[in-house]
């Protein structure tokens, strides 16, 4: 645990400014959307809003869908850029602990920070929406926004993979793969669109935690230098 504490300490110092800015940006955007909802709520009947939501796929929080992706990608970029520039990753690999474990801990810390910047905004939506919508809405909000959170996690992991890879061709391949995969999560904005594959997405996110280990392995074998 003291190793994990040490990594948390280092990563917090490294990322606290950008995490703070992302959190503020997420909350501000959430508040803006809530004010927009208030405006709509004041001018239209509840049935009209509900109808446009179901029939026309107008979800008031849809513009928010890119923020988890931006947050995850930016955090992944900054965290692992600092970790790998000038071959600094050697410092990490030289520490007296398992190298894979060290990378996984860094990922978990980064993802925890990402969720900490993103989830408060969803909480703001959830609380605010209870003034206008029935309780069923909350469940839909979670289910509808879940793929966007997964998009943020994928963005983070592919950026970590990209940053730790030293070989340019592989970096391009990783970017294309990441783009292709993440794109699948943003095709439709209907509510509950991805509801049936949420368990699969969750499993994929957990499995993809191993992705950056590939770059780490390639580095330690001298394959990416």
């Amino acid at each position: 645990m003291r190793y994990l504490n040490a990594f948390c300490y280092k990563e917090w110092i490294k990322l606290k400014s950008v995490a703070g800015l992302l959190l503020a940006a997420n909350i501000c955007f959430a508040l803006y959307l809530c004010l927009k909802l208030r405006y709509v709520g004041n001018f239209y009947e509840g049935e009209q809003i509900w109808g446009s939501w179901i029939a026309k796929a107008y979800l008031f929080y849809t513009p928010y869908r890119w923020l988890p992706l931006i947050s995850g990608t930016l955090l992944g970029f900054l965290q692992f850029h600092e970790e790998s520039k000038n071959h600094r990753i050697r410092l990490l690999f030289h520490l007296p602990l398992n190298e894979e474990k060290a990378i996984l801990w860094h990922e978990l810390i980064g993802l925890a920070l990402m969720l900490a910047t993103v989830l408060p905004a969803l909480l703001v939506f959830a609380v605010f929406s209870t003034f206008y919508f029935p309780a069923e809405f909350l469940g839909n909000l979670v289910i509808t926004s879940f793929p966007w959170l997964i998009g943020g996690i994928f963005g983070y992991l592919f950026m970590a993979l990209f940053q730790m890879e030293g070989y340019k061709r592989y970096r391009v391949v990783y970017l294309l793969l990441g783009y292709g995969l993440i794109r699948q999560l943003y095709y439709l904005d209907f509510y509950d669109t991805y509801a049936r594959i949420l368990p699969h997405l969750t499993i994929a996110a957990v499995l993809f935690l191993c992705l950056p280990l590939l770059s780490s392995f390639r580095y330690r074998k001298g394959l990416s230098q």
Partner: protein, 295 residues
Amino acid sequence: MSDVILCEGLNHCYGSRQVLFDVSWSLPKGRICGLLGRNGAGKTTTINILNSFLTPTSGQCLLLGEPSHALSHRTKQQIGYLIEGHIQYSFLNVHQIERFYARFYEKWDPKIYFHLISKLDITPAQKIATMSCGQRSQVALGLILAQDPSLIIFDDYSMGLDPGYRRLFIDVIREYAAADHRSILLTSHIIQDLENLIDDCIIYDHGRVIARTDLHHFSGSYRKYHFNNPAELPESFDSATGTRIEKDKSGYSLNGYFTAETAADYLRARGLTPESLTPVPMTLEDAFIALTGKY
């Protein structure tokens, strides 16, 4: 176990280009050894293999008795490593970085670190990124020494340091190594700095070990003799004996493990005239260049 590092039959290729050829050497416990060679000689490749950042095409390295690619956590605790360019976490300040590393090493001694830091003209909150190269080198050195390692690997410790910081670095290393028979492997291109520091030297040339010897033996027995020859001579180098014949400004030089007599015999055996043979005084750097060639 008397050898803290043992390299056996190392060969390494980058694609089709072979950069290490059957490299074997050892570092006995308590010795300070300089791994020397020109740019591209294979030093960094060897250091990378030692630190398990490369897997050799064939051969192996043992560090403190364990294969370099599978070091236990306990053994890693005993190995300090200075990355070329004194790389550290530059977004941390001197206190934060000490607090970070202290949690990883059982024998961590902050006094050593803060003693070194106290000599620097820096503020406590100053980030490493804003320090000069010399100051960064002291921070990196302090962090390594605070681990209390029994083996330290310095990869090009002198890179970017002015003479004052180089001297300080060497003084600290020497004092530290003498205290408890620690073993040190270092690389540097500033050969003259090493004269009063290292016990042994291993010299690489184009991926091969061409000298593996006690420093005083090398600097005392590797000689350079100037001679003239009326006919044009081809430059030559025998990596097995370290003997080199090369052209200089006013004739030729014969470099090798020779006395005046054996040098004359060597020339006679090749049909050359040793009458004008004159010894040329050399520093360690001169001897290194004489062995590895000028260009």
